[in-house]
């Protein structure tokens, strides 16, 4: 085989494989968007088309009219938002102490925190339910935020710890010589310098809180408190046999598009953060 034929074969294989990977990654998302724009008649046509013949936004209207989907979105924003804030504060304190301060047994502390990320959620589900019930926290935002802080802290602390470790130590030392207290150094120098790391880590925390299903499904038992994943998982029509797929796909698209946009904007930082930690989906 000549070098030229080899080159051509390589290019064909490469192009075909890339197109295949692209379709594979994007198609389910594409299909959800297309389906959400189809009127019911087209949706249940036994010969589905790759493009809506008469696109309509009626599914997007109905998802807010026929069910409290805006309430679910609000619940998710509140729970994930507060979780992210608290996790970032606790995580950056712990991460800084482990990265920089004199402390015996810090490896042990880090391992203890990291071990929690390996806990199967199901193994603490029953007992945690009993604890939260005793504290009267079932069907409250706090009852979901506390568990979320606990399950997102390990990765946050680990990533931030690595991040602080890589900051040049000289700046903090110079500040100390100039008589700047530890606390002031932390708030006025270290944290502002870490802003990019904090944003990326915060985004990862937000995504994992936003996506969580098992705890939300168990600790929020009234529809008014459902978060988005629970509302979508338990999406039901008026009767048992009628699943409103068009509305369901509209709801899926509404909450996924902002997430996908965020991920695409921060893709480099996310990949860097994930590679240092490994993360569960």
């Amino acid at each position: 085989m000549s070098v030229k034929t080899k080159r051509i074969i390589y290019n064909i294989v490469l192009t075909v494989s890339v197109i295949f990977v692209l379709i594979w990654c994007i198609f389910p998302f594409y299909w959800a968007i297309i389906s959400s724009l189809k009127p019911n008649k087209e949706l249940f046509d036994p010969h589905p088309t790759l493009w809506p013949k008469s696109p309509t936004f009626s599914n997007y209207v109905k998802v807010f009219q026929e069910r409290p989907f805006h309430v679910n979105i609000w619940n998710s924003i509140v729970v994930s938002g507060i979780t992210t804030l608290v996790t970032l504060i606790f995580g950056s304190f712990a991460g800084y102490a482990i990265a920089r301060l004199h402390m015996k047994g810090k490896s042990f502390v880090m391992i203890l925190i990291l071990a929690v990320s390996m806990f199967p959620q199901i193994s603490i589900l029953g007992s945690l339910f009993v604890i939260l019930r005793k504290m009267k926290l079932i069907n409250t935002y706090l009852g979901l935020i506390l568990p979320y802080v606990a399950i997102t802290l390990p990765l946050t602390t680990w990533i931030l710890q690595n991040f602080f470790r890589d900051l040049p130590k000289e700046i903090e030392e110079a500040a100390a010589i100039d008589g700047c207290s530890r606390t002031r150094t932390l708030f006025q120098i270290v944290f502002p310098m870490s802003a990019p790391g904090l944003v990326a880590t915060g985004l990862l925390t937000f995504i994992s809180a936003w996506n969580e299903f098992l705890f939300a499904f168990t600790f929020m038992q009234k529809p008014d408190y459902y978060t988005v994943p629970v509302a979508i998982a338990l999406f039901a029509g008026r009767t048992q046999y009628e699943q409103p797929w068009g509305q369901l796909m509209a709801a899926a698209v509404i909450v996924t598009v902002p997430l996908v946009v965020l991920v695409l904007i921060f893709q480099n930082r996310i990949i860097a953060g994930l590679s240092t930690g490994g993360v569960k989906g």
Binding site: W31, S35, H47, P48, V109, L125, T256, Q267
Partner: protein
Amino acid sequence: MKAKTRETLIAWGMVLPALLVISIIAFLPLFQTFYNSFFDASLRPDIEKRFVGFKNYADLFQDPRFLDALKNTIFFTIISVLFETILGLLIAVLVNQPFKLRGAVRAAMLIPWAIPTAISSQMWKWMFEPSTGIITKLLEALHMIKPGVPILGSPQTAMWAIIAVDVWKTTPFMALLILAGLQLIPEELYEAARIDGANVWQRFSKITIPLIQSTIGVALIFRTLDALRVFDVVFIMTRGSVNTETLAVYNRVLLMDRAFTGAWFGYGSALSVIIFALISVFAVIYIRSLKIKLE
């Protein structure tokens, strides 16, 4: 007070909030789960708690539903992790080649990972829908399934459909992790091998594979750990019917459905302990691989 002692105190003060939260929310319930697994207990207030020793554990291994769930979980884990690793490696090598729009392809690979599992499960469920689902139609046209047999309703296909969703969601992510390892291999190694006359396969098997072995190993252990506790995708796609129930799905039935009607809470806790023990094996290997030495 000496400066060092003061610093140590500040340090402990700074890790305290984190330690407090994980103690109350993770370690305390874990301890209680262990404790409860030795009792006959219920979430109904009128049923009294009774110590039964290891009876719950002994009963579990006589419980056909538990044994099926164990079998399904192991099957799901082995098949999905195997596919994710092989496909992940292939895709990583692919997107490591120089071509136009490479950045766009890498970005698109994050999409399956970013979509919440609960939502992507529903998206796939729609594609598997028995009468109009696009995958159902496609497989029927290819004569791979008989018309009228629902994919998610028959034991021969349901588990494979669930595995397909997990592979779709996780493979691109696995590929990106492996890609990070690939990019650390110096180009000179390949140049030298090329000059020495090594062909594509030799370069791949003698340079690439040995140098990314540890990256793949870590990713593999992490995925195994995750697959063993799978819940969302199974629960949403089939509710554990048609022989797809995994350990976590059965465990939730015991803890949250049956425990309110009878003395099932202790039994469920015993299952929780078994899942914990199973995963601990892989967790210990994983944490060791991170080589944490911070002092």
